[in-house]
Subunit: 191 residues, 2 copies
DNA sequence: ATAACAGGAATGAATATTCATTCCGCTTTT
DNA sequence: AAAAGCGGAATGAATATTCATTCCTGTTAT
């Protein structure tokens, strides 16, 4: 006996993949219905409209991601530990929710996001912002605006992940460790 | 006396801005026509259809960007000089063609790009690839796949530029120099 | 010099297509 | 048997594309 709201989850799953692969505007409701093996009308049983659907999806994964980063955060350890935790968090989250991070990133400044979605997203950024601000205070992190540092980490990671998804690169332990080191060198203060 | 094909250029200019700001699918032909102060039909005098238009635009700017990077490339200087040239090239190009790099980046893996566009784009990447391969040979660059290194540089730069466009960050000389240094530290081999 | 004219350029209303959303009959559950 | 869940055809609005017509600009004839 499948879980009660299997259909709803099927829709969300298909929507995530399609939105990540083709973007919101290029993804049609019939496409989603088809991929989810569900009637087009069924989608409207669970979501008022396409925008509600995308906002639900966005908030869901932003929240999940934030929780993944916060869980087990080594607040008392050294800064390199903390960075490791955050970076590994991105990797783990990406592995568990294949298209989620990419979807989030490519839709962060979309015109159809509602206030709640933007709110949730800024909460997410705050984790990184706090980390960097603290690090700069102790001269462990480069004296660049935190927003810029975040852009460097996220930009690098997601661009890389895009390659992995496209099959142009394999995400081995070794590669990921190397990229983490590279990103760390990008943001840390060099003496 | 205006240049003969002003209209065509007007269309391309408006299309660049709108595609960069809203994406291909969210931009309608009437929007472009309106912005370019041109009849909708006029667009079809110059371009077979919307996809031809976007491919023309893409190839145009990819080529321009490539030329900007190749021009004055200090092939004989040290690797740091070469990196500086490439990075400055990205900045200069971005300044000269406001939305071009962002448009290129956000559309590089779009479903509507034709073979020629993809071809041109891979030429562009090859400049960076060559640079990194050479650098790795001399142990100046981290032993990571060149594709990954490219992702780090492009990802960082474009994510950052997005912030600048959104008005969340000001692109001062100081910031750009700092980011260049950060990117260099991300890709160079540390002893 | 002026007046008709030719032909490419431009227009925007009309048409064809695509898409979000709705609706209604069928199926499953209670 | 009623209610809830579902599918997918039907609808109407939005959009890409076409096309009949108008507008220029330069050329030729008077």
């Amino acid at each position: 006996m499948p879980t009660p709201t299997t259909k709803r989850d099927d829709v969300l799953g298909s929507a995530l993949t399609l939105f990540a692969e083709r973007g919101f505007d290029a993804t049609t409701i019939p496409m989603i219905a088809n991929d989810a093996k569900v009637g087009a009308g069924t989608i409207y049983r669970y979501f008022d409209n396409k925008e509600m659907l995308v906002n639900t999806l966005f908030q869901h994964y932003v929240t999940l991601f934030r929780e993944a980063l916060e869980k087990g955060y080594p607040g008392e350890s050294g800064i390199r530990e903390q960075f490791h935790h955050l970076f590994q968090g991105m990797i783990r989250f990406t592995n568990e929710h294949d298209h989620a991070l990419y979807f989030i990133k490519t839709h962060t400044s979309a015109y159809f996001l509602d206030a709640e979605s933007r709110e949730q997203f800024s909460h997410l950024l705050m984790i990184f912002e706090t980390f960097f601000e603290e690090g700069k205070k102790h001269d462990d992190i480069r004296p660049l605006p935190s927003k810029a540092l975040i852009a460097i980490i996220f930009g690098s990671f997601l661009q890389l992940y895009q390659l992995v998804r496209a099959g142009e690169l394999e995400a081995t332990e070794e590669l990921l460790a190397g990229v983490e080191e590279s990103c760390w060198d990008a943001v840390r203060r060099h003496s």
